[in-house]
Protein backbone atom coordinates (compact mmCIF):
# COMPACT_ATOMS: atom_id res chain seq x y z
CA UNK A 1 0.00 0.00 0.00
CA UNK A 2 2.63 2.44 1.17
CA UNK A 3 4.84 1.46 -1.76
CA UNK A 4 2.07 1.90 -4.26
CA UNK A 5 1.42 5.39 -3.02
CA UNK A 6 5.05 6.36 -3.27
CA UNK A 7 5.21 5.01 -6.79
CA UNK A 8 2.04 6.83 -7.76
CA UNK A 9 3.32 10.03 -6.17
CA UNK A 10 6.63 9.64 -7.91
CA UNK A 11 4.93 9.08 -11.26
CA UNK A 12 2.70 12.09 -10.72
CA UNK A 13 5.69 14.29 -9.96
CA UNK A 14 7.54 13.04 -13.04
CA UNK A 15 4.52 13.62 -15.30
CA UNK A 16 3.89 17.04 -13.84
CA UNK A 17 7.55 18.02 -14.18
CA UNK A 18 7.69 16.95 -17.82
CA UNK A 19 4.46 18.78 -18.65
CA UNK A 20 5.85 21.92 -17.05
CA UNK A 21 9.13 21.47 -18.90
CA UNK A 22 7.46 21.04 -22.31
CA UNK A 23 4.94 23.86 -21.88
CA UNK A 24 7.43 26.20 -20.22
CA UNK A 25 10.12 25.43 -22.76
CA UNK A 26 7.78 26.03 -25.71
CA UNK A 27 6.60 29.30 -24.19
CA UNK A 28 10.19 30.40 -23.54
CA UNK A 29 11.25 29.62 -27.10
CA UNK A 30 8.26 31.51 -28.50
CA UNK A 31 8.92 34.53 -26.29
CA UNK A 32 12.63 34.51 -27.08
CA UNK A 33 11.95 34.43 -30.84
CA UNK A 34 9.44 37.26 -30.76
CA UNK A 35 11.62 39.38 -28.49
CA UNK A 36 14.78 38.88 -30.50
CA UNK A 37 13.03 39.80 -33.77
CA UNK A 38 10.78 42.62 -32.62
CA UNK A 39 12.71 43.74 -29.56
CA UNK A 40 15.37 45.96 -31.13
CA UNK A 41 12.83 47.55 -33.50
CA UNK A 42 10.33 48.23 -30.74
CA UNK A 43 12.96 49.34 -28.28
CA UNK A 44 14.20 52.07 -30.60
CA UNK A 45 10.67 53.29 -31.33
CA UNK A 46 9.47 53.15 -27.74
CA UNK A 47 12.51 54.50 -25.95
CA UNK A 48 11.52 58.12 -26.47
CA UNK A 49 12.52 60.86 -24.02
CA UNK A 50 9.29 60.58 -21.99
CA UNK A 51 9.73 56.82 -21.64
CA UNK A 52 13.36 57.23 -20.63
CA UNK A 53 12.35 59.88 -18.10
CA UNK A 54 9.63 57.55 -16.78
CA UNK A 55 12.16 54.78 -16.19
CA UNK A 56 14.57 57.18 -14.51
CA UNK A 57 11.97 58.56 -12.10
CA UNK A 58 10.57 55.07 -11.48
CA UNK A 59 13.94 53.57 -10.56
CA UNK A 60 14.85 56.72 -8.61
CA UNK A 61 11.81 56.45 -6.34
CA UNK A 62 12.40 52.73 -5.86
CA UNK A 63 16.15 53.08 -5.17
CA UNK A 64 15.57 55.92 -2.76
CA UNK A 65 12.96 53.93 -0.89
CA UNK A 66 15.13 50.84 -0.38
CA UNK A 67 17.25 52.02 2.59
CA UNK A 68 14.27 53.48 4.41
CA UNK A 69 12.11 50.46 3.72
CA UNK A 70 14.86 48.20 4.98
CA UNK A 71 15.24 50.30 8.14
CA UNK A 72 11.50 50.12 8.68
CA UNK A 73 11.32 46.37 8.15
CA UNK A 74 14.35 45.75 10.41
CA UNK A 75 12.64 47.72 13.20
CA UNK A 76 9.31 45.99 12.59
CA UNK A 77 10.84 42.51 12.44
CA UNK A 78 12.80 43.25 15.63
CA UNK A 79 9.61 44.35 17.37
CA UNK A 80 7.90 41.22 16.18
CA UNK A 81 10.68 38.85 17.22
CA UNK A 82 12.26 40.36 20.33
CA UNK A 83 9.87 42.76 22.07
CA UNK A 84 7.23 41.00 24.17
CA UNK A 85 3.70 42.35 24.21
CA UNK A 86 3.82 43.36 27.87
CA UNK A 87 6.38 46.07 27.05
CA UNK A 88 3.80 47.96 25.03
CA UNK A 89 1.13 47.34 27.64
CA UNK A 90 3.35 48.94 30.25
CA UNK A 91 4.31 52.00 28.20
CA UNK A 92 1.07 52.84 26.45
CA UNK A 93 -1.97 53.95 28.46
CA UNK A 94 -4.82 51.42 28.39
CA UNK A 95 -7.35 54.01 27.36
CA UNK A 96 -7.06 54.40 23.55
CA UNK A 97 -7.99 58.08 23.86
CA UNK A 98 -4.80 58.59 25.88
CA UNK A 99 -2.67 56.09 23.97
CA UNK A 100 -3.22 57.95 20.69
CA UNK A 101 -1.39 61.19 21.60
CA UNK A 102 1.41 59.23 23.29
CA UNK A 103 1.88 57.13 20.14
CA UNK A 104 1.70 60.26 18.01
CA UNK A 105 4.52 61.87 19.97
CA UNK A 106 6.49 58.61 19.84
CA UNK A 107 6.57 59.06 16.08
CA UNK A 108 9.26 61.67 16.62
CA UNK A 109 11.86 59.01 17.40
CA UNK A 110 11.82 57.04 14.14
CA UNK A 111 14.13 58.91 11.77
CA UNK A 112 12.89 57.77 8.40
CA UNK A 113 10.49 58.64 5.68
CA UNK A 114 7.04 57.25 5.09
CA UNK A 115 8.25 53.97 3.61
CA UNK A 116 9.66 52.98 7.01
CA UNK A 117 6.60 53.70 9.09
CA UNK A 118 4.10 51.36 7.40
CA UNK A 119 5.77 48.05 8.33
CA UNK A 120 6.50 49.34 11.85
CA UNK A 121 2.86 50.29 12.40
CA UNK A 122 1.86 46.85 11.13
CA UNK A 123 4.10 45.05 13.57
CA UNK A 124 2.91 47.27 16.44
CA UNK A 125 -0.64 46.09 15.78
CA UNK A 126 0.59 42.52 15.57
CA UNK A 127 2.07 43.02 19.04
CA UNK A 128 -1.27 44.03 20.49
CA UNK A 129 -1.00 47.81 20.31
CA UNK A 130 -4.43 49.38 19.81
CA UNK A 131 -4.93 50.07 16.07
CA UNK A 132 -5.86 53.70 16.79
CA UNK A 133 -2.51 54.29 18.50
CA UNK A 134 -0.52 52.45 15.84
CA UNK A 135 -2.27 54.48 13.13
CA UNK A 136 -1.44 57.76 14.88
CA UNK A 137 2.18 56.61 14.95
CA UNK A 138 1.96 55.67 11.26
CA UNK A 139 0.98 59.24 10.35
CA UNK A 140 3.22 61.17 12.72
CA UNK A 141 6.50 59.23 12.35
CA UNK A 142 7.41 60.40 8.84
CA UNK A 143 6.14 63.93 9.45
CA UNK A 144 7.61 65.11 12.76
CA UNK A 145 10.90 63.28 13.20
CA UNK A 146 14.01 65.41 13.78
CA UNK A 147 15.50 64.78 10.31
CA UNK A 148 12.38 66.12 8.61
CA UNK A 149 12.12 69.15 10.90
CA UNK A 150 15.79 70.06 10.35
CA UNK A 151 15.32 69.70 6.58
CA UNK A 152 12.33 72.03 6.82
CA UNK A 153 14.29 74.66 8.71
CA UNK A 154 17.05 74.49 6.08
CA UNK A 155 14.57 74.81 3.23
CA UNK A 156 12.85 77.80 4.83
CA UNK A 157 15.75 79.83 6.27
CA UNK A 158 14.67 82.54 8.69
CA UNK A 159 11.12 81.17 8.96
CA UNK A 160 11.06 79.10 12.17
CA UNK A 161 7.28 79.52 12.20
CA UNK A 162 7.08 77.25 9.17
CA UNK A 163 8.80 74.45 11.13
CA UNK A 164 6.51 74.99 14.11
CA UNK A 165 3.44 75.10 11.87
CA UNK A 166 4.47 71.84 10.20
CA UNK A 167 5.02 70.15 13.57
CA UNK A 168 1.68 71.30 14.98
CA UNK A 169 -0.41 70.60 11.89
CA UNK A 170 1.13 67.13 11.36
CA UNK A 171 0.86 66.08 14.99
CA UNK A 172 -2.68 67.45 15.17
CA UNK A 173 -3.70 65.49 12.08
CA UNK A 174 -2.11 62.27 13.36
CA UNK A 175 -3.77 62.49 16.79
CA UNK A 176 -7.13 63.48 15.37
CA UNK A 177 -7.04 60.59 12.89
CA UNK A 178 -6.18 58.20 15.74
CA UNK A 179 -9.16 59.44 17.74
CA UNK A 180 -11.43 59.28 14.71
CA UNK A 181 -10.39 55.67 14.20
CA UNK A 182 -10.94 54.85 17.88
CA UNK A 183 -14.45 56.34 17.70
CA UNK A 184 -15.68 55.43 14.20
CA UNK A 185 -13.25 52.84 12.86
CA UNK A 186 -14.58 49.35 12.11
CA UNK A 187 -12.44 46.30 12.69
CA UNK A 188 -13.69 44.69 9.49
CA UNK A 189 -12.14 47.46 7.31
CA UNK A 190 -8.76 46.75 8.77
CA UNK A 191 -7.23 43.43 7.89
CA UNK A 192 -4.90 43.03 10.82
CA UNK A 193 -1.52 42.21 9.35
CA UNK A 194 0.38 39.07 10.07
CA UNK A 195 -2.34 36.43 10.17
CA UNK A 196 -0.74 33.38 8.69
CA UNK A 197 2.62 34.99 8.12
CA UNK A 198 5.49 32.99 9.47
CA UNK A 199 6.56 35.68 11.92
CA UNK A 200 3.22 36.02 13.64
CA UNK A 201 3.76 33.81 16.63
CA UNK A 202 7.38 32.74 16.69
CA UNK A 203 10.14 34.66 18.43
CA UNK A 204 13.91 34.73 18.32
CA UNK A 205 16.59 35.16 15.67
CA UNK A 206 15.00 32.76 13.19
CA UNK A 207 11.68 34.60 13.41
CA UNK A 208 13.52 37.90 12.98
CA UNK A 209 15.11 36.72 9.72
CA UNK A 210 11.90 35.21 8.36
CA UNK A 211 9.89 38.29 9.30
CA UNK A 212 12.49 40.61 7.83
CA UNK A 213 12.65 38.69 4.56
CA UNK A 214 8.87 38.50 4.26
CA UNK A 215 8.15 42.11 5.24
CA UNK A 216 10.82 43.57 2.99
CA UNK A 217 9.74 41.63 -0.07
CA UNK A 218 6.07 42.33 0.54
CA UNK A 219 6.48 46.06 1.18
CA UNK A 220 9.12 46.28 -1.58
CA UNK A 221 6.64 45.02 -4.15
CA UNK A 222 4.17 47.70 -3.16
CA UNK A 223 6.91 50.32 -3.15
CA UNK A 224 7.59 49.43 -6.79
CA UNK A 225 3.88 49.74 -7.55
CA UNK A 226 3.80 53.18 -5.91
CA UNK A 227 6.96 54.23 -7.73
CA UNK A 228 5.34 53.36 -11.05
CA UNK A 229 2.30 55.48 -10.19
CA UNK A 230 4.47 58.38 -9.05
CA UNK A 231 6.58 58.25 -12.22
CA UNK A 232 3.47 58.15 -14.39
CA UNK A 233 2.04 61.28 -12.79
CA UNK A 234 5.43 62.95 -12.79
CA UNK A 235 5.65 62.51 -16.55
CA UNK A 236 1.97 63.00 -17.38
CA UNK A 237 1.26 66.17 -15.40
CA UNK A 238 3.58 69.09 -16.21
CA UNK A 239 4.16 71.20 -13.16
CA UNK A 240 3.68 74.38 -15.20
CA UNK A 241 -0.07 73.60 -15.13
CA UNK A 242 0.09 74.70 -11.51
CA UNK A 243 0.98 78.25 -12.35
CA UNK A 244 -2.59 78.81 -13.47
CA UNK A 245 -3.78 78.47 -9.89
CA UNK A 246 -1.28 80.47 -7.89
CA UNK A 247 -3.56 83.48 -7.54
CA UNK A 248 -6.42 82.15 -5.45
CA UNK A 249 -5.66 80.70 -2.01
CA UNK A 250 -8.93 78.76 -2.13
CA UNK A 251 -7.65 76.86 -5.12
CA UNK A 252 -3.97 76.86 -4.19
CA UNK A 253 -4.37 74.91 -0.93
CA UNK A 254 -6.31 71.93 -2.31
CA UNK A 255 -4.19 71.99 -5.47
CA UNK A 256 -0.88 71.64 -3.64
CA UNK A 257 -2.48 69.04 -1.36
CA UNK A 258 -3.36 67.00 -4.46
CA UNK A 259 0.11 67.59 -5.87
CA UNK A 260 1.61 66.16 -2.67
CA UNK A 261 -0.42 62.98 -3.22
CA UNK A 262 0.64 62.43 -6.83
CA UNK A 263 4.27 63.55 -6.63
CA UNK A 264 5.21 61.13 -3.80
CA UNK A 265 8.22 63.17 -2.75
CA UNK A 266 9.99 61.59 0.23
CA UNK A 267 9.17 63.40 3.48
CA UNK A 268 12.80 64.30 3.97
CA UNK A 269 12.88 66.16 0.67
CA UNK A 270 9.42 67.65 0.39
CA UNK A 271 10.33 70.82 2.27
CA UNK A 272 12.76 71.73 -0.51
CA UNK A 273 10.14 71.12 -3.16
CA UNK A 274 7.66 73.20 -1.15
CA UNK A 275 10.21 75.99 -0.86
CA UNK A 276 10.67 75.99 -4.63
CA UNK A 277 6.93 76.46 -5.20
CA UNK A 278 7.49 80.09 -4.37
CA UNK A 279 4.50 81.47 -6.24
CA UNK A 280 2.07 79.84 -3.83
CA UNK A 281 0.87 81.28 -0.49
CA UNK A 282 2.60 79.88 2.64
CA UNK A 283 -0.52 78.04 3.81
CA UNK A 284 -0.68 76.09 0.55
CA UNK A 285 2.97 75.11 0.91
CA UNK A 286 2.29 74.05 4.49
CA UNK A 287 -0.54 71.85 3.23
CA UNK A 288 1.87 70.30 0.73
CA UNK A 289 4.26 69.37 3.55
CA UNK A 290 1.54 68.11 5.91
CA UNK A 291 -0.27 65.97 3.34
CA UNK A 292 2.82 64.57 1.58
CA UNK A 293 4.18 62.32 4.37
CA UNK A 294 0.68 61.08 5.26
CA UNK A 295 -1.09 60.49 1.96
CA UNK A 296 0.59 59.76 -1.34
CA UNK A 297 0.32 57.14 -4.07
CA UNK A 298 3.36 55.18 -2.93
CA UNK A 299 2.06 55.17 0.65
CA UNK A 300 -1.42 54.20 -0.53
CA UNK A 301 0.06 51.17 -2.28
CA UNK A 302 2.07 50.24 0.82
CA UNK A 303 -0.94 50.63 3.11
CA UNK A 304 -3.22 48.67 0.80
CA UNK A 305 -0.67 45.88 0.86
CA UNK A 306 -0.25 45.88 4.62
CA UNK A 307 -3.71 46.70 5.93
CA UNK A 308 -6.00 45.92 3.00
CA UNK A 309 -7.50 47.99 0.22
CA UNK A 310 -10.78 48.90 1.89
CA UNK A 311 -8.86 50.33 4.82
CA UNK A 312 -6.30 52.22 2.75
CA UNK A 313 -8.86 54.03 0.60
CA UNK A 314 -11.05 55.12 3.53
CA UNK A 315 -8.20 56.06 5.80
CA UNK A 316 -6.21 57.95 3.16
CA UNK A 317 -9.16 60.05 2.03
CA UNK A 318 -10.16 60.92 5.60
CA UNK A 319 -6.53 61.77 6.39
CA UNK A 320 -6.33 64.03 3.35
CA UNK A 321 -9.36 66.05 4.45
CA UNK A 322 -8.16 66.31 8.06
CA UNK A 323 -4.63 67.24 6.99
CA UNK A 324 -5.85 70.01 4.68
CA UNK A 325 -8.14 71.36 7.42
CA UNK A 326 -5.33 71.25 9.98
CA UNK A 327 -2.93 73.08 7.65
CA UNK A 328 -5.49 75.78 6.90
CA UNK A 329 -6.17 76.32 10.61
CA UNK A 330 -2.53 76.33 11.66
CA UNK A 331 -1.51 78.39 8.64
CA UNK A 332 -4.20 80.95 9.37
CA UNK A 333 -3.03 81.15 12.99
CA UNK A 334 0.75 81.14 12.54
CA UNK A 335 1.76 82.11 8.99
Amino acid sequence: MQNQRTVADGLRVVVRASVYAVLGGAALIAIATVVSVLGPLLALDLYTPPVAAWWTVFTAVAVQGVPFLLLGTVVSAAIGAFVPERVFRRFLPHNPALAVPVAGLAGAVLPGCECASVPVAGSLMRRGVAPAAALAFLLSAPAINPVVLVATSIAFPGQPKMVLARLLASLGTAVLMGWLWARFGKEKWLRLPGRGTPSAHATGARAFLTGLQHDFLHAGGFLVLGAAAAATFNIAVPRSVLDLFTGSPWLAVPLLAVLAVVLCVCSEADAFVAASLSAFPPTARLAFMVVGPMVDLKLLALQAGTFGRSFAVRYASATWVVAVAASVLVGWWLL
Binding site: P49, A60, Q64, L70, L209, R239, A269
Partner: protein, 253 residues
Protein backbone atom coordinates in the same frame (compact mmCIF):
# COMPACT_ATOMS: atom_id res chain seq x y z
CA UNK B 1 11.92 28.51 -7.93
CA UNK B 2 9.17 28.23 -5.34
CA UNK B 3 11.65 27.40 -2.67
CA UNK B 4 14.39 29.84 -3.57
CA UNK B 5 12.22 32.65 -5.00
CA UNK B 6 12.50 34.99 -2.01
CA UNK B 7 16.24 34.42 -1.71
CA UNK B 8 16.70 35.11 -5.43
CA UNK B 9 14.67 38.31 -5.20
CA UNK B 10 16.69 39.57 -2.24
CA UNK B 11 19.97 38.79 -4.02
CA UNK B 12 18.75 40.49 -7.20
CA UNK B 13 17.63 43.63 -5.37
CA UNK B 14 20.77 43.80 -3.25
CA UNK B 15 22.94 43.17 -6.30
CA UNK B 16 21.24 45.96 -8.26
CA UNK B 17 21.73 48.41 -5.40
CA UNK B 18 25.40 47.44 -5.06
CA UNK B 19 25.99 47.67 -8.81
CA UNK B 20 24.99 51.35 -8.92
CA UNK B 21 26.70 52.38 -5.69
CA UNK B 22 29.73 50.23 -4.97
CA UNK B 23 30.78 49.65 -8.58
CA UNK B 24 30.51 53.11 -10.09
CA UNK B 25 28.67 56.39 -9.83
CA UNK B 26 25.44 55.39 -11.56
CA UNK B 27 23.43 56.03 -8.40
CA UNK B 28 23.98 59.76 -8.91
CA UNK B 29 21.54 59.61 -11.82
CA UNK B 30 18.76 58.67 -9.40
CA UNK B 31 19.49 59.93 -5.90
CA UNK B 32 21.65 62.54 -4.22
CA UNK B 33 25.23 61.74 -3.21
CA UNK B 34 24.59 61.64 0.55
CA UNK B 35 22.49 58.50 0.23
CA UNK B 36 25.43 56.37 -0.96
CA UNK B 37 26.56 54.92 2.40
CA UNK B 38 22.98 53.96 3.29
CA UNK B 39 22.49 52.35 -0.11
CA UNK B 40 25.73 50.35 0.22
CA UNK B 41 24.76 49.16 3.70
CA UNK B 42 21.29 48.21 2.42
CA UNK B 43 22.73 46.40 -0.59
CA UNK B 44 25.14 44.35 1.54
CA UNK B 45 22.38 43.60 4.06
CA UNK B 46 20.02 42.44 1.30
CA UNK B 47 22.64 40.17 -0.25
CA UNK B 48 23.47 38.66 3.17
CA UNK B 49 19.79 38.24 3.96
CA UNK B 50 19.29 36.54 0.60
CA UNK B 51 22.15 34.11 1.29
CA UNK B 52 20.90 33.31 4.79
CA UNK B 53 17.37 32.80 3.46
CA UNK B 54 18.66 30.42 0.80
CA UNK B 55 20.63 28.42 3.39
CA UNK B 56 17.67 28.23 5.77
CA UNK B 57 15.37 27.08 2.97
CA UNK B 58 17.90 24.52 1.87
CA UNK B 59 18.30 23.04 5.34
CA UNK B 60 14.63 22.83 6.31
CA UNK B 61 12.05 21.67 3.80
CA UNK B 62 9.41 22.61 6.38
CA UNK B 63 5.71 21.76 6.44
CA UNK B 64 4.90 24.46 3.86
CA UNK B 65 6.83 22.62 1.21
CA UNK B 66 4.17 19.98 0.67
CA UNK B 67 2.79 20.70 -2.79
CA UNK B 68 -0.59 19.11 -2.18
CA UNK B 69 -1.96 21.62 0.24
CA UNK B 70 0.21 24.54 -0.65
CA UNK B 71 -2.00 27.47 0.25
CA UNK B 72 -4.86 25.90 2.16
CA UNK B 73 -3.81 27.22 5.55
CA UNK B 74 -4.08 30.76 4.23
CA UNK B 75 -7.82 30.49 4.00
CA UNK B 76 -8.29 33.56 6.21
CA UNK B 77 -6.24 35.59 3.82
CA UNK B 78 -8.59 36.00 0.90
CA UNK B 79 -8.67 39.49 -0.54
CA UNK B 80 -5.22 40.15 0.78
CA UNK B 81 -3.79 41.25 -2.52
CA UNK B 82 -0.36 39.92 -3.26
CA UNK B 83 -0.41 37.93 -0.09
CA UNK B 84 -1.14 34.55 -1.53
CA UNK B 85 2.19 33.28 -0.42
CA UNK B 86 3.12 29.84 0.57
CA UNK B 87 6.79 29.11 0.44
CA UNK B 88 7.17 31.23 -2.70
CA UNK B 89 6.79 34.41 -0.69
CA UNK B 90 4.46 37.32 -1.43
CA UNK B 91 3.60 37.36 -5.11
CA UNK B 92 3.65 41.16 -5.38
CA UNK B 93 7.35 41.02 -4.50
CA UNK B 94 8.13 39.90 -8.04
CA UNK B 95 7.56 43.50 -9.09
CA UNK B 96 10.96 44.17 -7.54
CA UNK B 97 12.53 42.48 -10.55
CA UNK B 98 11.51 45.43 -12.77
CA UNK B 99 13.71 48.15 -11.27
CA UNK B 100 16.37 45.60 -10.29
CA UNK B 101 16.79 44.21 -13.80
CA UNK B 102 16.59 47.71 -15.30
CA UNK B 103 19.46 48.80 -13.05
CA UNK B 104 21.51 45.68 -13.73
CA UNK B 105 21.01 45.49 -17.50
CA UNK B 106 19.99 48.89 -18.88
CA UNK B 107 20.47 51.61 -16.25
CA UNK B 108 18.05 54.42 -17.24
CA UNK B 109 19.79 57.68 -18.25
CA UNK B 110 19.94 60.84 -16.16
CA UNK B 111 17.05 63.27 -16.64
CA UNK B 112 17.82 65.91 -19.26
CA UNK B 113 16.30 68.50 -21.55
CA UNK B 114 12.96 66.68 -21.78
CA UNK B 115 12.32 67.03 -18.05
CA UNK B 116 13.79 70.53 -17.97
CA UNK B 117 11.49 71.66 -20.77
CA UNK B 118 8.35 70.28 -19.21
CA UNK B 119 8.19 72.56 -16.25
CA UNK B 120 8.71 76.24 -15.93
CA UNK B 121 12.16 76.69 -14.44
CA UNK B 122 11.88 77.52 -10.77
CA UNK B 123 13.93 79.99 -8.91
CA UNK B 124 14.56 79.55 -5.23
CA UNK B 125 12.43 81.75 -3.03
CA UNK B 126 14.58 84.28 -1.31
CA UNK B 127 14.73 87.99 -0.66
CA UNK B 128 17.10 90.53 -2.13
CA UNK B 129 20.14 90.95 0.08
CA UNK B 130 23.91 90.95 0.21
CA UNK B 131 25.58 87.60 -0.52
CA UNK B 132 28.91 86.43 0.91
CA UNK B 133 31.90 87.34 -1.23
CA UNK B 134 32.85 85.02 -4.10
CA UNK B 135 36.16 83.15 -3.83
CA UNK B 136 39.11 84.96 -5.41
CA UNK B 137 40.45 84.15 -8.88
CA UNK B 138 39.04 84.24 -12.40
CA UNK B 139 37.21 82.42 -13.78
CA UNK B 140 35.27 81.37 -10.71
CA UNK B 141 33.38 78.06 -10.86
CA UNK B 142 29.71 78.44 -9.98
CA UNK B 143 26.66 76.19 -10.12
CA UNK B 144 23.82 77.31 -12.36
CA UNK B 145 21.61 77.75 -9.30
CA UNK B 146 24.20 79.84 -7.44
CA UNK B 147 24.78 82.05 -10.50
CA UNK B 148 21.03 82.59 -10.88
CA UNK B 149 20.43 83.59 -7.29
CA UNK B 150 23.36 85.97 -7.25
CA UNK B 151 22.27 87.48 -10.55
CA UNK B 152 18.71 88.04 -9.38
CA UNK B 153 18.93 88.68 -5.64
CA UNK B 154 22.40 89.99 -4.75
CA UNK B 155 22.24 93.65 -3.77
CA UNK B 156 26.03 93.54 -3.34
CA UNK B 157 26.38 92.73 -7.07
CA UNK B 158 29.12 90.22 -6.37
CA UNK B 159 29.07 88.97 -9.99
CA UNK B 160 30.02 92.36 -11.40
CA UNK B 161 33.37 92.32 -13.19
CA UNK B 162 33.93 88.61 -12.56
CA UNK B 163 34.49 85.87 -15.09
CA UNK B 164 32.48 82.77 -14.23
CA UNK B 165 32.43 79.18 -15.41
CA UNK B 166 29.16 77.25 -15.59
CA UNK B 167 28.58 73.63 -16.59
CA UNK B 168 25.26 72.24 -17.77
CA UNK B 169 23.37 70.86 -20.73
CA UNK B 170 21.95 72.79 -23.67
CA UNK B 171 18.25 73.58 -23.94
CA UNK B 172 16.60 75.83 -26.50
CA UNK B 173 14.12 78.67 -26.11
CA UNK B 174 11.43 79.61 -28.59
CA UNK B 175 13.20 82.38 -30.46
CA UNK B 176 16.64 80.98 -31.12
CA UNK B 177 17.88 81.63 -27.58
CA UNK B 178 19.67 78.85 -25.79
CA UNK B 179 20.35 78.10 -22.19
CA UNK B 180 22.81 76.26 -20.01
CA UNK B 181 20.47 74.20 -17.87
CA UNK B 182 20.96 72.07 -14.82
CA UNK B 183 18.44 70.10 -12.78
CA UNK B 184 18.53 70.46 -9.00
CA UNK B 185 17.86 67.24 -7.11
CA UNK B 186 17.30 67.30 -3.36
CA UNK B 187 16.64 63.67 -2.58
CA UNK B 188 15.84 61.71 -5.74
CA UNK B 189 15.17 62.42 -9.39
CA UNK B 190 11.43 62.64 -8.70
CA UNK B 191 11.90 66.01 -7.02
CA UNK B 192 14.06 67.57 -9.76
CA UNK B 193 13.62 71.28 -10.36
CA UNK B 194 15.17 73.28 -13.18
CA UNK B 195 17.67 76.12 -13.17
CA UNK B 196 18.83 77.85 -16.36
CA UNK B 197 20.99 80.69 -17.60
CA UNK B 198 20.55 82.29 -21.00
CA UNK B 199 23.76 82.32 -23.04
CA UNK B 200 24.60 85.04 -25.55
CA UNK B 201 27.56 84.13 -27.68
CA UNK B 202 29.18 85.33 -30.83
CA UNK B 203 29.22 82.27 -33.06
CA UNK B 204 26.14 80.93 -34.77
CA UNK B 205 26.43 77.16 -34.76
CA UNK B 206 23.56 75.62 -32.83
CA UNK B 207 24.44 72.90 -30.37
CA UNK B 208 21.87 70.11 -30.14
CA UNK B 209 19.82 69.87 -26.94
CA UNK B 210 21.33 67.76 -24.16
CA UNK B 211 24.91 68.51 -25.22
CA UNK B 212 26.96 69.06 -22.09
CA UNK B 213 28.99 72.28 -22.19
CA UNK B 214 31.20 74.42 -19.99
CA UNK B 215 30.68 78.13 -20.59
CA UNK B 216 33.10 80.83 -19.49
CA UNK B 217 31.80 84.38 -19.59
CA UNK B 218 30.61 87.46 -17.78
CA UNK B 219 27.26 88.36 -16.28
CA UNK B 220 25.04 90.78 -18.19
CA UNK B 221 22.77 92.58 -15.70
CA UNK B 222 19.14 92.81 -16.72
CA UNK B 223 15.92 93.93 -15.05
CA UNK B 224 15.45 95.23 -11.51
CA UNK B 225 16.80 93.04 -8.69
CA UNK B 226 14.29 90.44 -7.53
CA UNK B 227 11.80 91.19 -10.32
CA UNK B 228 10.49 88.82 -12.96
CA UNK B 229 12.27 90.84 -15.63
CA UNK B 230 15.62 89.83 -14.13
CA UNK B 231 14.87 86.22 -14.95
CA UNK B 232 16.36 84.13 -16.49
CA UNK B 233 19.79 85.66 -15.95
CA UNK B 234 22.07 86.22 -18.93
CA UNK B 235 25.71 85.34 -19.46
CA UNK B 236 27.86 86.82 -22.24
CA UNK B 237 29.91 83.84 -23.25
CA UNK B 238 33.56 84.12 -24.19
CA UNK B 239 34.10 80.41 -24.77
CA UNK B 240 31.77 77.45 -25.03
CA UNK B 241 33.40 74.01 -24.72
CA UNK B 242 31.78 70.63 -25.13
CA UNK B 243 32.44 68.42 -22.11
CA UNK B 244 31.54 64.95 -20.93
CA UNK B 245 28.50 64.58 -18.69
CA UNK B 246 29.77 65.09 -15.14
CA UNK B 247 29.64 62.18 -12.69
CA UNK B 248 26.87 63.94 -10.80
CA UNK B 249 24.50 65.18 -13.48
CA UNK B 250 22.46 67.20 -10.97
CA UNK B 251 23.12 70.08 -8.61
CA UNK B 252 22.25 69.90 -4.92
CA UNK B 253 20.49 72.76 -3.22
Amino acid sequence: MRRYGPAALLLLTGGAVLRITLFGDLYLRYVQAGLRPYLIVSGVALVLLGLVTAVLRHRTPGPHEDVHHGDVHHGDDEGHEGHSHGPAGPRVAWLLTLPALALLLFPPPALGSYSAGREAAQRAAQGVGAFPALPAGNPVELTVAEFSSRAIYDSGRSLKGRTVRLTGFVTHGDDGTWYVTRLVVTCCAADATTGKVEIRDADDDVLPADTWVTVIGTWRPKGRLGSDAAWPPVLDAATVTRVKQPADPYENP
